[in-house]
Symmetry: C2
């Protein structure tokens, strides 16, 4: 049977000799014979297998998955469909991430600040779940989980509307703060009341003092939130949190 040395196979297939050695090392493509000081020689069936490998690799399959497919442990079509699903998911993730990046750029350039519905965008599902679980354990189920599910269930036009309302409230607060008003100032507390009503509208029940103050803690202690709020103005998150705590203590 005709056999070919490494370099020739590499040239024919358009891959490097290093790659062929690697495939040998991981057992993906074993030469037909290996003798005479380790010289590899590949036969026709190895070339065919290499074609299959490169075809599947071109589609983005992992090498171990390719091995499974070629060993018959895995159905090609099944594997490719799973792969396609993964690709679709990755695409969606990238789309969300790109949107978040664009929003950040606009914000840095002086546009409207980043909005709540982008807070969790672009995280992969595992990270996202971990963040939510972690947030839950820190501030209790009530605060984060409800806010989260509420955000998820809103219709798109509602989701787009909410940030603007928060922005408006933030702007009013920032104006008062610039004017030197303390967090427990009456004017500030009036705005906080609006903030509470806004939050309550998207809660599935009226938040109690604990839950509302938990939200305040969220603003300052979770860097993802704190950062967003502090980009309104430096220290704004702490200011808002202080105002909320005072309002909750006096009104709830």
């Amino acid at each position: 049977m005709r056999t070919w040395p490494t370099a020739e196979v590499a040239r024919m297939a358009g891959v490097s000799a290093r790659t062929l050695r690697h495939y040998d090392a991981i057992g993906l493509l074993t030469p037909a014979e290996t003798g005479h000081g380790g010289l590899r020689r590949y036969g026709r069936s190895e070339l065919l297998r290499l074609q299959q490998i490169l075809l599947l690799k071109r589609l983005g399959l992992r090498l171990d998955t390719i091995a499974d497919v070629l060993e018959g442990d895995l159905d090609r079509i099944e594997a490719l469909k799973r792969h396609a699903a993964g690709l679709a998911e990755e695409r969606r993730r990238l789309e969300r991430l790109a949107a978040t990046v664009d929003a950040t750029i606009r914000q840095l350039e002086g546009g409207p600040p980043m909005t709540p519905e982008t807070w969790f965008d672009g995280l992969d599902p595992a990270t996202e779940a971990a963040h939510r679980a972690e947030a839950r354990s820190r501030w209790g189920q009530a605060v984060v989980e409800r806010a989260w599910t509420v955000l998820q269930e809103l219709r798109p036009e509602e989701r787009r509307a909410i940030p603007a309302e928060f922005d408006a409230i933030n702007a009013r607060l920032q104006t008062l703060r610039d004017a030197g008003a303390a967090p427990d100032d009456d004017a500030v507390q009036t705005v906080v009341a609006d903030h509470y009503r806004l939050v309550a509208r998207h809660w599935d029940s009226q938040p109690g003092a604990e839950a509302y103050k938990g939200l305040a803690a969220l603003y300052t202690e979770d860097p993802r939130f704190a950062d967003t709020y502090d980009q309104v103005a430096d220290g704004f998150a702490a200011y808002l949190a202080e105002a909320i705590r005072h309002w909750a203590d006096t009104h709830l």
Copy 2:
């Protein structure tokens, strides 16, 4: 000044202690003080820096890029815009790749075969360029480069039309082959003449014998082409190549 130990910072920021140590190791985030057996303590400014780091990381920036940004060596907006461009490119790549995967699935399930314009889809630009360069060196500039540029410059409706014409020719050849006709059979050679005219139509000049035989070599020796053609029927690529070589020898 108040300082916090590793674990506490980790909890506040929602990252692992290991991550903080890693950031220290690569010089991205150095603790305010490190004493008493290597104990790390972070101050307020380190926390702020960590917030910045996590914000940028969430947007998908690489850690060394983040370092550059935070050191002021790189403009945030500039970096983010470059990143956004990269994301867009990656998305396009994934889209093309997904299309190729879908086409492959349909083909494996018995649909129409993969078409020439998907051959190079989903490769990253560097790989693609390398493949083309490599193909050029093997079969000469004329064959691959022209075919490639021609494919690139076609209008979409033309690109969609070409594969069908090739498919039709392949089907005619396959019929003859099934009937036992040799590659140099007159009937086969007539079909090859049509094939030549089809190829010539998309070439920027009439291919000579060498170029046309180079194309035949491409069909059998480049796994990307060979695989596609052999999925018409086993050994079809070799059959077609043989027929082409004979026709070229007698007609060009």
